[in-house]
Point group: C2
Amino acid sequence: MTEHSLWRLSRALHRAINDRQFDALTELLDDDVDWAIYGPIDMFPFLGARLGKDAVLETIRQIADTVHIRRLDRETLMLDDGAAATMVRCAMTTQESDKPITARLAQFMHFRAGKLARLRILIDTFDLVEQTLGRPIDLPRIGSFA
Amino acid sequence: MTEHSLWRLSRALHRAINDRQFDALTELLDDDVDWAIYGPIDMFPFLGARLGKDAVLETIRQIADTVHIRRLDRETLMLDDGAAATMVRCAMTTQESDKPITARLAQFMHFRAGKLARLRILIDTFDLVEQTLGRPIDLPRIGSFA
């Protein structure tokens, strides 16, 4: 039984972000990888859409410049032939000030011949922004109920 | 071939939110359903964790009081025996002012005997907050690169 591509990719991403070792990741990205992490790109320029291996590697370098991963807890996992969906809680520290930040991410991945062909990541971005700012943002209460 | 529980649940949720018809949904919730939609509960009190059918039905009533669903685009889908993961783009209008709001949601569902036993939803909440406020929130730029 062969290992699912998700696990190889997860290890490669982890090594790229934490150890700046990009060789394994380079091997596991499809040349035309279609990549998007939804979120406020004004604050986090490494979020957003990327097309192709070079653009994705550049983004991962920027992420590596910004955070260090401390811990990953996989809360939900679905695997299929050539696809994976997972929800993870990712504890990080910022490179600049060692500030702890925890984000929950939903990841949807499609693989072609064992390489990542499509990635979509959703993040609870409001929580991420507040943690990064280090203060709450004042919000009105919405809804027609008390 | 029986229909996957996801489709019955999706139709029931849609009818509950848009038409306030809760019968089908009531049938499709496990008594002990474990439910969480991550997001700023100060602004949106119907987000957050709920335990049990009654608490979930009450939350769906609050959502129905707040928004109307206009359109659902399913961008990613994975189905498994008794589980589903999907990313949808949901176009809504607010009940109060008919303001259009579009949110991308990642949904992870587990079913027990055809009923929803566990649900986790992640939303690009910063985007949702900005749309609801009707104005951008000023953010600093983060990261060690130009």
